[in-house]
């Protein structure tokens, strides 16, 4: 049901773009106004959310320590999993953000009948890590590749990436590897959500919606490039127009193009409202981005409250006679 709602929402979005352009003839709305609005909402919303996070302080230094602490000089510290230096944290965060270090640890717990009775076994489970990694990296490369449409001359690194991605030179235009990887990875992430009962149980419409959106965006892009073979020159003129703030609606580009950019626009606008903000949040997660030097450097809580305490004087007042009887020293006789 939850998946169905999300699926229908995406279908509705596709219909809106199709009808809007084909029937209502609003290509400038879908080609110009919506993308600009979406861009503003994305950037504005993203910044707003990050500022909102940033406004809340981090009262305690709470890194999750995943390795040996720094203590005695002859005990080997785990400088990345339990970092006491800024460099250690940077490496820890880089591994987390670029290679999903924590997800790499993933295991699969199974209860089996072992030689000594019921036995819990923890098997390797790297598929989620691998699928996510392929998904995110493909996504990033595809986004970077798209810069070639917005910038003239095309920057060197974009050209290089483009060349690498299309290096297999299959078909014309050459097939991008990331297009394949991307579709396979999104499909994998979707399938595990509906096929693993536990994951299905925890999934919300907000988990399916981005997957359907991203899948539809990928498919519409692939259709344009490999099947409809839309006029890339016209699209590039249009994209540069958008980027340089004098947008012109190109002629002779099929509705599929508008579906593509409408879905991209909606995804961008949806981004700051949703779990997709994990892209920003991962940088700010206190269990990962803090230096684990708790006992070396005092961490300040800006709202550290002054509270009522039970002082030694209170305590001695209550127990003075009992203390004296067993010879415990007291402050007041």
């Amino acid at each position: 049901m939850k998946a169905l709602y999300s699926f229908l929402a995406v279908i509705v979005l596709i219909l809106i773009a199709t009808l809007g352009v084909n029937v209502a003839n609003m290509s400038s709305v879908f080609g110009i106004i919506v993308p600009y609005l979406a861009f503003v909402v994305f950037v504005g919303g993203f910044v707003y959310r990050v500022i909102k996070w940033g406004k809340s302080p981090v009262p305690f230094r709470i890194p999750t320590t995943c390795g040996q602490q720094k203590s005695l000089p002859w005990i080997k510290q785990s400088k990345i999993e339990n970092p006491t230096s800024a460099l250690g944290v940077i490496v820890r965060m880089a591994l987390e953000i670029l290679f999903f270090r924590s997800l790499f640890r993933n295991t699969k717990t199974e209860l089996k009948e072992g030689p000594y009775g019921p036995q819990l076994a923890y098997g390797s489970a790297k598929w989620l890590w691998f699928g996510s990694l392929v998904f995110h990296w493909s996504f990033l490369i595809i986004v970077i590749r798209h810069l070639r449409l917005f910038i003239e001359p095309v920057p060197f690194f974009v050209q290089m990436l483009d060349g690498l991605d299309g290096m297999l030179q299959i078909g014309l235009p050459p097939i991008y590897l990331t297009d394949l990887f991307f579709v396979v990875a999104v499909t994998f992430l979707f399938l595990r959500r509906i096929l693993i009962p536990r994951v299905k149980y925890i999934s919300l419409p907000a988990d399916y919606f981005p997957l359907f959106m991203i899948f539809s965006i990928a498919v519409s892009g692939i259709l344009m490039r490999y099947f409809y073979k839309v006029d890339i020159i016209a699209i590039k003129e249009f994209a540069i127009g958008l980027a340089q703030f004098h947008p012109v609606i190109p002629q002779g580009i099929g509705v599929i193009f508008y579906v593509h950019i409408f879905l991209v626009s909606v995804l961008f606008a949806y981004f700051p409202l949703s779990k997709l903000m994990h892209m920003g949040g991962i940088f700010l997660s206190p269990t990962r981005n803090m230096i684990s030097n708790n006992r070396m450097v005092r961490h300040i809580n800006p709202w550290n409250p002054v509270l009522e305490v039970h002082t030694y004087e209170h305590y001695e007042d209550e127990f003075r006679e009992k203390m004296k009887k067993v010879g415990l020293p007291v402050e007041k006789e």
Binding site: R49, S56, P57, P59, F60, I62, T64, T65, C66, G67, Q68, K70, S71, L72, E96, F100, S102, L103, T107, K108, T109, L111, P118, Q119, L120, Y122, L128, R198, Y201, I202, S203, L204, P205, A206, L273, K275, G281, I282, S285, P286, T287, R288, S292, N294, R295, M296, R298, H299, N301, P305, L307, V309, H310, T311, Y312, Y315, E316, K322, M323, L328
Partner: protein, 539 residues
């Protein structure tokens, strides 16, 4: 109080039903089954601590005696915490429900209850956050994962936030480091705004506030307890140990969890401290006022934790010691490592800890000025300052349980292992996915080691026990060593239930067994006053 319910047999508890309810989790009401939840906090204890809505109440009754307008209290409480804790805000916002945390939780593994998956436990609170604090939730309600705050939702929170031991295992695997402990801590704070603590937490916290320790041991009784330990030490070694209390001018203040003062096997660890410090001739003192290293306030609210923790630095200052050594305890060290200095520091009246025996300066504690007994001892052993006879532990085949908090809130892995390897000849590690940062909780942490929830404790400890069983069968392990007072209280019952024949000991007890003291008599007894096999005792 409900009648005592019989504990199911291990064979029954190890059949775990992982099938999911037919209804969505939002439509599946919470159940309170006897033997799986704790008694409600008592009014008098909440009053002692100055906590709201102090009254006696019973979770198994329909009416929880909630204050007027409690919904607003909770929502205001959430708003306040969102503005105070970036962790809370971020953890509410960025979970993608990938499910990596799901089968990492000992309570999920052992109950199969989907709401014990960390992701769903967090979602219990996140759904309310979404409904009242996000635009999408306000607009789309359930479609955006939001739901109304009702009494049933509140009861569900209570049930599941007191089924989380704040062990942080899930946060090791989370790609964003989302820490369910943090969410549980805040969830319990919210519940405490309505007086919804459990008796096993608020009772000890209140005792600690007034009397200095969780067990409520008064000063004269504490000296008596330690004195009778000294009698036993004299029987074992022939040496009279004379510890001091509340002594001004001592070099070191020693603070340990009060669990070490009463009950087996905690007391043997305490005897170990006494013997070690005597042997070293350490200039140290105990305190009856700061006689608790643990902190059940930490399971109540951050404010309560800070108020209980206050005594340690206050007492160190009053006595004029140079630095503090802390005993073996789990959550105590999460608090001392990650919170104490922030709450009650700076400890600028103390000096950077320096071992009087080896001269080692503990730079790692240069701000808090408090070191762990295992750090102190590992350094002594490395410098050959202790005479040890590990053969006295030859009848033991030892494995080591990494306690959650020193593992994932500190990273103390190699120090206790260094000690064990020096004092025992037979040491075996449990499987690698169950130790160090991946260690499993005893199932009774964060104040859940009551007796009325015994079935839940035995379940929660199943993954830990199962790993012990593996080394028990494979290597004949018969001793589960640890550095945590809650472990010493909880694991004997767990071992007795799942792995009969495995005993539990603090690392310092094993050390004391092997410690050859100057002028001691030929030892025929171990620290438990049992005959030492092969040492002249009657085997």
């Amino acid at each position: 109080m409900a009648p005592k319910v019989k504990l199911p047999k291990p064979g029954e508890l190890s059949i775990i039903d992982y099938s999911l309810p037919a209804t969505d989790w939002m439509d599946t009401p919470v159940e309170f089954k006897p033997n799986t939840f704790c008694w409600g906090a008592k009014g008098k204890d909440l009053e002692t601590l100055g906590l709201p809505n102090a009254r006696d109440w019973n979770p198994s009754e329909e009416d929880w005696k909630l204050p007027e307008n409690w919904e607003q209290t909770v929502l205001d409480g959430i708003a306040e915490r969102l503005s105070k804790y970036r962790s809370f805000k971020i953890f509410m916002d960025i979970c993608v429900r990938c499910g990596a945390c799901a089968d990492k939780c000992h309570f999920y593994i052992s109950t199969g209850d989907p709401k014990n998956m960390p992701v769903l436990r967090a979602e219990l609170l996140r759904s309310v956050y979404k409904r009242y604090f996000t635009k999408s939730g306000k607009l789309f309600g359930r479609l955006a994962g939001g739901r109304e705050l009702t009494v049933d939702v509140l009861k569900e929170w209570w049930s599941y936030f007191f089924q989380c031991t704040e062990c942080r295992r899930c946060s090791v695997y989370c790609p964003y480091g989302i820490d369910q402990a943090e969410i549980t801590i805040i969830g319990r704070e919210l519940l405490n705004l309505l007086g919804l603590n459990i008796n096993w937490i608020s009772g000890p916290a209140a005792a600690c506030y007034k009397k200095g320790n969780h067990l409520g041991i008064e000063p004269h009784a504490l000296t008596g307890i330690i004195d009778s330990m000294c009698d036993d030490i004299e029987d074992i070694t022939g040496i009279r140990v004379n510890p001091t209390f509340n002594r001004k001018g001592a070099e070191i203040l020693f603070v340990t969890p009060s669990g070490d003062f009463m009950g087996e096997p905690g007391i043997y660890t305490c005897m170990g401290y006494l013997m070690l410090f005597h042997e070293l001739g350490l200039d140290y003192t105990w305190s009856t006022y700061a006689s608790e290293g643990g902190n059940f306030g930490f399971f109540t609210s951050n404010d309560t934790a800070k108020r209980l923790n206050y005594k340690i630095y206050a007492e160190a200052k009053r006595l004029g010691v140079k630095y503090i050594i802390g005993g073996e305890c789990g959550h105590m060290w999460r608090v001392l490592n990650q919170y104490m200095d922030t709450w009650n520091g700076p400890a600028d009246f103390l000096e950077v800890p320096k071992s009087p025996i080896t001269g080692t300066v503990f730079e790692n504690a240069k701000s808090t000025k408090m070191i762990h007994i295992s750090e102190f001892v590992a350094d002594l052993i490395k410098h050959n300052k202790l005479k040890l006879d590990p053969s006295r532990n030859d009848h033991l085949k030892v494995t080591f349980h990494d306690s959650c908090n020193p593992s994932r809130g500190m990273g103390m892995f190699d120090e206790p292992r260094h000690i064990i390897k020096a004092v025992c000849n037979n040491f075996y590690e449990m499987p690698e996915n169950t130790i160090r940062e991946q260690t499993f909780c005893c199932g009774s942490g964060s104040g859940l080691n009551a007796s009325e929830n015994m079935e839940q404790r035995m379940r929660g400890g199943f993954p830990r026990a199962n790993a012990v069983r593996y080394v028990q069968q494979k290597h004949g392990v018969n001793m589960l060593a640890n550095i945590c007072a809650v472990d010493r209280a909880a694991l004997p019952a767990l071992m007795n239930y799942w792995n009969p024949g495995v005993e539990v000991a603090g690392v310092t007890e094993l050390l004391a067994n092997a410690l050859v003291m100057k002028g001691e008599k030929e030892r025929t007894l171990d620290i438990r006053l049992n005959d030492l096999p092969g040492k002249g005792g009657n085997e």
